[in-house]
């Protein structure tokens, strides 16, 4: 790669890595660990309604009873006693960018968040550590009746009944250990409701920044797209690199009602000390469509498998994902789908790249229930190995319980072909540029699903990974 | 040739996935007649072939198909085959594990319900394969597996010769074949014509395959309508002038250009 490009790349890295000093007088930090006492304190701090307080305590009990999964990446180095469940700025959430505290504003401005809002987003939420610090929805979108607010306001405000009805119903705390933990200590996140028939033309976005060392982020995202409505929601995540482990155990619950459509895009670039144990799930009703676009670049360790339940007849899902596992990373990602309705269809297409000792695992499950007559599924996963000290594993599972299903599965693993590198070099590219170009091409089916500025960001991340050790 | 009608298609309309393709088709074929169905790409020629044979993807929305006195409009393909209808596919099925020879034997048995006399069957098969210049070994090869385009077409004609249908619909049997292969396939068709009362509906958009065949009627299909019907000489006319005069009213879906 030319020096010129390298310079650009280095600046990019520094953008994500700036650590903003959080002094005690401006920030509130919960003591480390997860005890009943701490959970009660969080609940108090957040003025929870009574049901939520009970929900948290019940979840904590479940958390203590459940075991860690035995099948995924190792999490031995994650010491839960050293994680703070709750860190927030002492200033309140702002609806105007100018009012956000200077230091936090600087962080987001370096990441280009307000700029993106002005240019191409219908609304933006920005979470800094455990709480949203900024939230804004464009007037024309709000006028359509679209609700986009932080979870805390939703919990106590006008929509409290709706939150009560849906909160952790799709991902119950009993689902797995980190779902239980989430139920106990969650804070922050967004609530979105798109009324019947409303099509939101431009995307809404949430940006998550975990700035504090040794902290956990447990935001909860609840989106309800009502009948016939249409929404694109974008999620971005980043954090500076610390030498201690950080934990992200968010939860995303998506309800896509009859004939609605939801696209959920994520570019995840957590720093490489992050344990990303996130749970995302969508319930898709009759004739509705769920689309996932997912790019996983950051984190030390990831367990991430967005799940779609195709409940209604003729509901469909499409998952497009890319994972780039570099040095020191163990990224275990993929998708899960359950076909319940008749004439449902799913399409999973993933790309995975492993380099410099990184471990990239594609893991999935496709379940077609007996009632899901005429279901159709197609899975295709490609892995690319860039050297021989890394790993690329493909671990799909299928459970088909009706004959009236059409199931196709394809997996490939390979390397960058010497011929392709030679061809590009014969056209004047350096070897490094040639390889980077081939990897970008490999990732293209994913980047073309993203809005332009995110596709550019993703390509920059790929370049960064290709040049870095 | 004015015997009783073998195939009678009345006011037939058909759709694929709710898209109407065929409109109000009327067609009569008597035993022993050779009909040619021509038309530009996308006119619905193959759709007509599939609809006549009863492909479930093609839904009859109106009209009837009567064959040999029976109304077959709603019958599945195997009933139609048993009644004596045959369709030569453009892309025939490949089945690993079952040989061409044993497939034909199975089909023959299913159609006639009679046990196959093995010696006589082998003799017939040998003769037909020789006529089609197919090597004996093809009978033992898996059905269409690894066959070239030409070999697949020959294998279809071979099945026609062995199963002796009353009406054979040949769907673009000549497409993608070289001159020699077209000649061979044509020889097979002539052999079938020699059979007593074997009727043919030849779907094609070229005229090469028709050179050595006697043609009784030619139909031109445009945008799902039979826009004109003539005798064998119409083939030559189209050969010279193409379909242009039949497709002149762009955007019009229902008129007859001869009016």
């Amino acid at each position: 790669m030319s020096d010129n490009n390298k310079a650009v790349v280095d600046i990019d890295r520094s953008v994500y890595d700036i650590k903003d000093v959080e002094n005690e007088q401006d920030f509130y930090r919960m003591e480390d660990g997860f005890t009943e006492d701490i959970v009660r304190k969080i609940s108090e701090e957040k003025h929870d309604p009574e049901w939520m307080k009970k929900f948290r305590l019940d979840s904590l009990k479940i958390y203590n009873e459940l075991e860690m999964p035995d099948w995924g990446p190792d999490t031995d180095e994650l010491d839960m006693n050293l994680i703070s469940s709750y860190v927030r700025s002492k200033s309140d959430m702002k609806g105007k960018w100018e009012d956000v505290p200077e230091d936090i504003k600087n962080t987001f401005e370096r990441l280009g968040i307000p700029e993106a809002e002005r240019e191409s987003l219908a609304g933006v939420g920005a979470q800094y550590d455990s709480e949203l610090v900024y939230h804004n929805v464009k007037d024309e979108v709000a006028d359509q009746g679209v609700i986009y607010t932080d979870m805390e306001s939703a919990l106590t405000g006008e929509y409290s009944d709706m939150v009560h009805e849906y909160f952790m119903k799709l991902v119950p705390p009993t689902d797995h250990k980190y779902a239980a933990l989430h139920g106990a200590v969650w804070s922050g996140g967004s609530f979105v409701y798109v009324p019947k028939g409303v099509k939101v033309d431009i995307p809404l976005q949430s940006y998550f920044r975990l700035n504090a060392a040794g902290a956990g982020q447990f935001e909860h995202t609840l989106i309800i797209v009502d009948e016939g409505a249409d929404l694109h929601f974008i999620e971005g995540c980043s954090a500076p690199k610390y030498n201690v482990a950080n934990l992200h155990a968010g939860c995303v619950e998506l309800f896509v009602k009859k004939n609605a459509r939801l696209r959920y895009s994520t570019i995840e670039n957590w720093s490489k000390n992050m344990y990303n144990l996130n749970t995302k799930r969508a319930l898709v009703e009759e004739g509705a469509r769920m689309e996932w676009v997912s790019g996983s670049f950051g984190s030390h360790t990831s367990y991430l498998y967005p799940m779609t339940i195709l409940k209604g007849d003729h509901s469909t899902m499409e998952y497009t994902g890319i994972t780039f596992a570099g040095k020191g990373q163990n990224l275990d990602t993929g998708a899960k789908v359950v076909h319940q309705g008749k004439y449902t269809s799913s399409l999973i297409s993933t790309k995975s790249i492993s380099k410099s000792g990184g471990i990239g695992t594609y893991r999935s499950s496709v379940i077609i229930n007996k009632e899901a007559k005429h279901a159709k599924t197609s899975v295709s996963c490609d892995s690319l190995m860039l050297d021989s000290i890394s790993r690329a594993d493909t671990i799909p599972g299928m459970d088909i319980r009706t004959n009236d299903a059409d199931v196709g599965h394809e997996a490939k693993i390979g390397r960058i072909s010497d011929e392709a590198v030679f061809y590009l070099m014969s056209r004047g590219l350096s070897e490094a540029d040639a390889r980077a170009m081939i990897v970008s091409g490999f990732a293209n089916p994913v980047s073309k699903e993203l809005p332009l500025e995110y596709a550019v960001e993703m390509n920059n991340l790929i370049k960064l990974e290709m040049s870095g050790g | 040739m004015s015997e009783q009608t073998l195939l009678k298609v009345q006011n037939l309309s058909a759709s694929v996935e709710d898209l109407p393709i065929l409109h109000d088709i009327n067609l009569e074929i008597r035993p022993g007649e050779t009909h040619v169905l021509m038309g530009p790409n996308g006119a619905g020629k193959s759709t007509l072939g599939y609809t006549l044979m009863g492909n479930p993807h093609y839904r009859v929305t109106n009209g009837t198909i009567t064959f040999d006195g029976q109304d077959l409009t709603k019958e599945p393909a195997d009933k139609r085959a048993k009644a004596g209808m045959f369709l030569s596919f453009q892309n025939p099925l490949e089945v690993p594990g079952i040989s061409l020879g044993s497939f034909i034997r199975n089909a023959y048995h299913e159609q006639t319900g009679k046990p196959v006399k093995l010696l006589q069957y082998k003799k017939q098969l040998g003769e037909a394969m020789e006529l089609l210049t197919m090597d004996d070994s093809y009978a033992d090869r898996d059905l269409n597996v690894g066959f070239s385009g030409g070999e697949k077409k020959k294998a279809e004609i071979l099945q026609m010769l062995m199963l002796k249908p009353k009406l054979a619909i040949l769907d673009e049997t000549d497409s993608g074949l070289d001159v020699d292969a077209v000649r061979t396939v044509s020889k097979g068709i002539q052999e079938y014509q020699k059979q007593k009362d074997g009727a043919l509906l030849i779907i094609t958009h070229s005229t090469k395959i028709l050179e050595a065949l006697h043609v009784d009627y030619t139909h031109v299909l445009v945008k799902g309508h039979i826009v004109t019907t003539g005798d064998g000489s119409l083939v030559e006319e189209i050969n010279e002038h193409g379909f242009e005069k039949y497709v002149r009213c762009e955007g019009c879906d229902g008129c007859n250009p001869n009016n």
Partner: protein, 387 residues
């Protein structure tokens, strides 16, 4: 005795809710009366048979290969949820795993060792025939050892009386030395009252190859495992499995191509049909280990589902620790396609007959690879009888 074993471990664990990480064999009140492998038939001059070898003898046979395997071990991390440590104690890693070794040891099962002399090529197959009578409970263990540059074909046939009830568990281990080739054919046509497991483990040295053909046509519950370690440079593993499960039959399998050497090749093909309330779980893994540069692997699964009550589980994995490899897996699962059915019908073949024809075609496409005409005819007859 009571059998209670965990077998067929996925090489890397996955979600627990898929219930596929391993399988449990639970059979109570089993009285094993026979542990001796039937006398192999049709033994050519170049082949020798020793019918009472011990596990120590087997260890000695594989010692050299095992040392080479040990020397290739690296410090690089295994896959997430690696199950290799569970089965590290095996003399030869097999598909079903260490608990089969433990059972054979506990029951003192003698090992029949079939050895092909160096440089000899024997085309005529050696036969081992099991014919079970009602109530028979059998264990058996064999080693097929092809010395340098030899080729040997062994056909194992499992038959039983109609309606016989019983049990038969077999372990067959293979060593193909440099340039040698082992063709192993196993055909199972047991009655539906019989429980059956069949465990295979093999090692291929430089330029050696193992070709295996398996046909599972009967029995009530079948567990099958096959793991071949492609240790040597340019070694090869080919597998063709055909299975037909109906009624309440189950087939539980675990196939692994463990590609260690440079430029190794594996090809695994699975063709099956599920009818009635049959259940099957397929685990198939291509494992490209560090050092397997230039290797290729291909795994294809094709399953025809012919009843609304079948359960089909499929776990096709590719594990990879080497850059310069080419691995692929494909699976097609579903009922008879509309186009297939229409073509058949257009030739006068009705739906039911078309299904029978397609079942026979699938089984036939595997059966015809067996180098024994008489056995192919027996298979055809067996299929005809049960359909």
């Amino acid at each position: 005795m009571d059998l209670n074993m965990k077998v067929n471990h996925l090489p890397a664990l996955t979600y627990r809710f898929l219930k596929s990480n391993n399988s449990q064999i639970e059979i109570n009140d089993l009285y094993i009366e026979n542990t001796k492998t039937p006398e192999p038939e049709n033994i050519p001059a170049a082949v020798s048979v020793k019918s009472d070898a011990t596990e120590a003898d087997v260890k000695a046979i594989f010692e050299d290969a095992n040392n080479k395997i040990k020397a290739k071990k690296t410090e690089l991390p295994g896959p997430n949820g690696d199950t290799a440590p569970l089965n590290d104690g095996q003399v030869v890693r097999t598909g079903m795993g260490v608990e089969i070794d433990n059972l054979m040891a506990e029951m003192n099962v003698p090992v029949t060792v079939i050895t092909a002399a160096e440089g000899t090529e024997v085309k005529e197959p050696v036969f081992i025939r099991y014919a079970l009578k009602d109530g028979d409970c059998v264990l058996g263990s064999q080693v097929i050892h092809a010395l340098k540059g030899s080729e040997i074909t062994v056909i194992m046939e499992y038959d039983s009386d109609t309606d016989a009830k019983g049990f038969i568990g077999i372990q067959t281990r293979l060593l193909a030395e440099e340039g040698a080739k082992i063709n192993l054919i196993k055909v199972q046509m047991l009655s539906e009252g019989i429980m059956h497991f069949d465990d295979i483990g093999g090692v291929c040295e430089d330029k050696a190859s193992i070709d295996s053909i398996g046909m599972q046509l009967g029995a009530l519950n079948t567990w099958g495992g096959c793991r071949v370690t492609l240790l040597g440079r340019k070694s090869k593993f080919n597998n063709h499995t055909g299975y037909l499960c109906r009624h309440k039959q189950t087939y539980d399998m675990n196939y692994v191509a463990d590609q260690m050497g440079e430029k190794t090749e594996s090809e695994m093909i699975f063709r099956g049909v599920l009818l009635d309330e049959a259940q099957k779980i397929f685990r198939g893994t291509l494992d490209f280990k560090s050092g397997s540069a230039g290797s290729v692997g291909d795994e294809q699964e094709d399953t025809l589902l012919l009843s609304p009550d079948v359960v089909n589980r499929t776990m096709p994995m590719i594990l990879c620790q080497e850059e310069d490899v080419d691995g692929r897996h494909g699976a097609t699962i579903g009922q008879l396609g509309d186009d297939t059915l229409f073509y058949m019908q257009s030739r006068g073949i009705g739906e039911e007959e078309a299904k029978r024809l397609m079942i026979r075609a699938r089984m036939e496409s595997i059966a015809r690879m067996i180098p024994d005409e008489a056995l192919i005819i027996r298979i055809q007859q067996f299929i005809r009888t049960i359909l």
